[in-house]
Symmetry: C2
Amino acid sequence: MVTTRETKRAELRERLIDAAENELQNKGLSGLKARDVTARAGCALGALYNAVEDLDMLVLEVNARTLANLGAALKAALPGPDASPVDSLQALASTYIDFAIENRRLWLALFEHRLPEDRAVPERHRQSHAVLIDGIAAPLAQLRPDLAQEALSLRARTVFAAVHGVVHLSLQGQFVGVPLPDLKAEVRALVEIMARRAA
Amino acid sequence: MVTTRETKRAELRERLIDAAENELQNKGLSGLKARDVTARAGCALGALYNAVEDLDMLVLEVNARTLANLGAALKAALPGPDASPVDSLQALASTYIDFAIENRRLWLALFEHRLPEDRAVPERHRQSHAVLIDGIAAPLAQLRPDLAQEALSLRARTVFAAVHGVVHLSLQGQFVGVPLPDLKAEVRALVEIMARRAA
């Protein structure tokens, strides 16, 4: 039986995640402050530490939500089993870019949030990243029937990370990043090559 | 004429950069604290703000030093004008991985340090990143004589970012990253394809 106390705690948790998501969207990770989150959630500062441990854990909860949304977008983008593997990979990459641009600060937080080095990311949160590569394995297997399961899973990570790297440096506005107006065309060219020779 | 006062200030600056480099190496960006840096440099906390503005600017100075070292390593790795462009690109990628592994926390700081969103990175610091792509243009031009200067410069960024992405997610220990023991082989395969078809 769920007590009123537990229900209230779960509600507060949701409100805090909503508030942190909003703050992240508006100010980015470097501008995120516990005091702003609790003010937005309408609770005392101490309530945060009671409901979700601390601000780092709250960011992991927002990231889990972002990853679930991104995973759903990638899944919806797959053109179906009759599509060519190249088209499937292009659809995934293109959707990945769109999501990153539309949710820039939330997406950056997925990769830029770091716990202090003496703290490990809880396994549940680590595994929520799997949605990033889930869709790649099937088209890659069609392109590389010679690769065994383990080699394929490794190559899916490499293909994802290559595309991700181009998108990340571009959206970070790094000096060596591809300028944003060229991003889609450059990633398309990269995926084209990796798909043809399947990295 | 350089006054004693200016000399002392320059010396203090160097000492602070040395100390911050050491602290970054030992504790990583998330563990960097102004108080530890000044304690190591043997000066008062306030001296940091006097000599290098603030901790963010001090990290940019350490990053500039890391980039200079990385640039020198990449330049030294190039096998000379008679080497094939594929070999040149493989040598650059392999040296990049070695440097990243041997200087993990300093290297991560190059990409993970973020100024607050309302502050721009000084242009001098942005441009110090150019060493990351300087060596790529020449071999790429040999592989793709059909590409004009601007398209080549763009493609060099894409090739760098793809390799960087694989190295970054791997060294960050991300769930979707390539496991460290497989990193060199996966990057070698990626560069092989990108060199053959030049992305």
